[in-house]
C-alpha cells in the first residue's frame, strides 16, 4: 500500500466525515443521518478485501470517535467499523460484485455497525439506550445507507479499484 493510496483513502474518510456532520443534518430524519464513513469502509471492503477494509475501518472509526461533535467513549466506532470492514470484505468474490450483492452488503454492514456501536454503549452503561429506541435508530440508519448506496458506492468503488496496483492476469 503506497503512501499516495493511503492518503487518497484517508481523504475519502475525511470528506465523508465532514459531509456527514455538516451537510446531512439538514436532511436528517429525527437526527439520524446516513453513515457515509461506514459506506467508505464497505466500498473498500468490496474492492480491496477484508484486511485493507479493517485497517481503513479502524482509522475511520477513530476519526469518527474523536472529531468535534462526538462525545462518546472513544474507540466505539473504531470497534464497529473494524468488524464491518472485515465482515464486508469476506463477502467479496474475485469477480465484480453484483448490484444486489452491494446493496445487501451495505444493509448488513450498516445494521452490524450501528448495532455494535449501540451494544458497546449498553455494555459501558452510557445513558440513553433503551432497546426500542435503539432498534428504530438502527433500522432508519440502514434505510438511509441503502438509499444512498446507488449514489455513493459506485464512485467510491471505482476510486478504490483505480488505487489497486496493476494485476497480471492469471
Amino acid at each position: 500500500m503506497s503512501l499516495a493510496r493511503a492518503l487518497t483513502a484517508l481523504a475519502a474518510v475525511v470528506a465523508a466525515l465532514v459531509l456527514q456532520v455538516t451537510v446531512f443534518p439538514y436532511v436528517a430524519w429525527d437526527g439520524i443521518v446516513p453513515n457515509l464513513v461506514l459506506l467508505v469502509a464497505v466500498a473498500a471492503a468490496l474492492t480491496r478485501g477484508p484486511q485493507f477494509a479493517a485497517v481503513l475501518g479502524f482509522v475511520a472509526g477513530v476519526a469518527l470517535d474523536l472529531a468535534p461533535p462526538a462525545d462518546h467513549v472513544a474507540g466505539r466506532w473504531a470497534l464497529a467499523l473494524v468488524l464491518v470492514g472485515y465482515l464486508a470484505g469476506r463477502v467479496r468474490q474475485d469477480q465484480n460484485p453484483t448490484t444486489s450483492t452491494v446493496v445487501m452488503t451495505v444493509a448488513g454492514a450498516s445494521f452490524i455497525g450501528s448495532s455494535v456501536f449501540a451494544l458497546s454503549g449498553m455494555v459501558l452503561g452510557e445513558p440513553g439506550s433503551d432497546v426500542g429506541g435503539v432498534l428504530t435508530v438502527v433500522l432508519v440508519a440502514v434505510l438511509w445507507d441503502v438509499l444512498l448506496t446507488p449514489f455513493v458506492l459506485p464512485p467510491l468503488m471505482g476510486m478504490f479499484r483505480r488505487l489497486e496496483p496493476e494485476r497480471v492476469p492469471a
Binding site: V18, T22, Q51, A54, D94, P127
Partner: protein, 314 residues
Amino acid sequence: MRLDGGFNRSRERRWRSLQDLDEPRRPSRALLVALVLASVSLITLDSQGGTDSPVEPVRRAVGEVFGPLESGTAAVIRPITAIPGWFRSHDSLRAELSALEAENAGLRSEVASSDFDRNRLAEYDGLTAAADELGYALVPARVVALGPSQAFSRTVTIEAGSEAGIRPDQTVINNDGLVGRVLRTTGTTATVLLIIDTGSTVGGRVGGSMEMGFLKGRGDVGDSGLLDLELVDQAEVPAKHDVVVTWGSNGGAPYVPGVPVGRVTSVFSSLRETSQRAVIEPFVDFGALDLVGVAVPSGTPSDRALIEVDGSLR
C-alpha cells in the same frame, strides 16, 4: 527449493506486511484481533479516564484539524440550506410577520409580569449579587456540525473556540432560551452538549413557585425533544404552562441563572417513587439550531465582537 522459497517469502512478509493487506485470499485473523484489541484498549483508556482521559489531548488535536474543515463546509453550504426559505411567497411571509409581531407583543407583556421576575424581586435575593451573576457577555457563534442520532448523544460543534474566549462549562443560549453547555474547546471550535441529551442535567426553577428541581434530557430531537423535571420538594405540583428557568450555580458554571428553559406541558405522579415528574417542552427548537451565544465573563478578550451586558457590541 520449495522449502527455501517458502521460508524466504514468510521472512519477507513480515517486512512487507502493508502490501499483504491487498492479499484477498487469506484474510489475517491476527490483524483483525489486533485491530479489535486496539479499539477495546482505546475504549478502556477513555472510559477509565473520564474527563482527565489520556485520549482528551488526541481529541483536541483531531478537533483542531476537523474544526476548520467543518466551519468551512458549513459556510459553503449555508446559501444552499437557505434555499427552501426563498420558495415561500411574499404573502405568506407577510402573514407570518404580522402573526409573529402579535405573538411578540403578547410575549413581551407576559415576560414583563412573569412570575419569576416578581418572585425574584419580592425575595430580594441580593440585587448586587444578581447583577454580578448576570454580568455576562455573549460570544455569538454559528452551529456548524451536528452529531448523528446513531451516536445516541446530542452534541453540536460551534465555530468559536478558545480564541474567542470560550472555556469548557460555559452556558450556551440562543434567542429562545437555554441550548446547553460547552464540553470542550479547540482553538476555533467548541463542542456543546445540548440539554436534550440523556446525559445532561440542568438545575431548574419553576417560575411560578420558585421550586427547585433537576431537568434531564430524553435524547430525542424535534417535536419529541422533551425534558423531564424532577422537583426537590416532592409535595409540590408544578402547574401546566409554568415557565422553568435555570437556577445556576456558583460562578455561573456550568449554567448561569435565570435563563428560560421551557414550559411545563404535563405532570405525572408515580406512586411507587412517590415523586412528581413534570414534562417540559424546551423553548429552543433543537432541530433548527443556528445562531447561538456563549455566556462569557464580561470583558473577556476575544477574536470577535462580543455582545456586552448592556446590549452593545464590543
